[in-house]
């Protein structure tokens, strides 16, 4: 499915909220986040995702801890911080106000 170019800008803005939501209930490492997004129908390239993850870590919305892996290098597991939860909640509130807006504005 090739997303419409008019939708591309919307999708770009959705990446950050979706990344936060993907680690809301379980910690995941970057590769798992990419897989989760792909399976949800929001494919994202690592070269786009990784800089964002590091930015969110710097902004302390995500926290990380290292864990040894049986199948490769140690993994950096990411989880939501308290600030991250607040941010995700803000995203959701804003998002539903936007959806309300687009459905009601024409009436």
């Amino acid at each position: 499915m090739e997303p419409d170019s008019k939708l591309a800008a919307l999708r770009r803005g959705m990446l950050e909220p979706l990344v936060l939501a993907s680690v809301e209930h379980q910690r995941r490492y970057a590769g798992e986040i990419a897989t989760a997004l792909r399976e949800a129908g929001f494919p994202v390239q690592e070269a786009t995702l990784y800089p964002l993850l590091n930015k969110l870590r710097r902004e302390e919305l995500l926290a990380h801890d290292w864990q040894e892996s049986t199948s490769g290098p140690p993994r950096k597991y990411l989880s939501l911080t308290e600030a991250g939860r607040v941010q995700l909640r803000n995203f959701r509130t804003y998002w539903s106000s936007l959806t309300d807006m687009i459905t009601t504005i024409g009436h």
């Binding site: 970057a30 590769g31 390239q45 690592e46 070269a47 990784y50 800089p51 590091n54 710097r58 290098p73």
Partner: protein
């Protein structure tokens, strides 16, 4: 038999066997990525993360022991990984920056090119004093000052009014 490069990638203990072309391609990709991240404070970390992710994919691809990954296989992986979008340069809010005092010629009320007016504006002198000094210099140096004057007429930029000169010195005035 083509030469095989063994490349070590961040996080991976084992090296990845690559053909010469694939090796050059991967090195180029990583250095372009680093360049695209520019002044991002996490640039090095991001490159390391990408190296680890690429290493995962390349290792799962290198199933036959000893066989090197060729450029075509690598290109496929890199296409999936994508490239880092260069951050847009910050949009300039100021139309022009404050440049501080600078020498110029000022057209407003000028006698001969506005050089004295420019010097007066530069140093907050009275323009008629500057003109008097300039006239004495011209007389005492026997014309040499005149040559310097002519040269400066050619070199210095021209500003229309004193008010505009001050505006350029201090940058844009915040709009009210």
């Amino acid at each position: 038999m083509e030469q095989i490069h063994h490349m070590s990638l961040s996080g991976h203990a084992e090296t990845i066997p690559l053909t010469a072309a694939a090796h050059a391609h991967l090195v180029r990709y990583l250095s372009n990525t680093r360049a695209a991240l520019g002044t991002d404070p996490d640039a090095d970390e991001t490159v390391r993360d990408l190296e680890t992710a690429l290493g995962d994919r390349l290792r799962s691809m290198a199933t036959t022991p000893g066989a090197a990954i060729d450029d075509e296989q690598l290109a496929r992986i890199l296409a999936e990984t994508g490239s880092v979008e260069q951050e847009a340069p910050p949009t300039r809010i100021l139309a022009y920056p404050a440049r501080g005092r600078f020498f110029c010629r000022i057209g407003e009320g000028s006698w001969f090119g506005g050089l004295c007016a420019g010097i007066a504006a530069y140093g907050d002198f009275r323009v008629d004093w500057v003109r008097t000094v300039a006239l004495f210099l011209l007389l005492f140096t026997g014309g040499t000052a005149g040559l310097v004057y002519l040269a400066l007429l050619l070199i210095l930029p021209k500003v229309d009014t004193v008010a505009e000169y001050r505006r350029k010195c201090s940058g844009p005035v915040p709009s009210r």
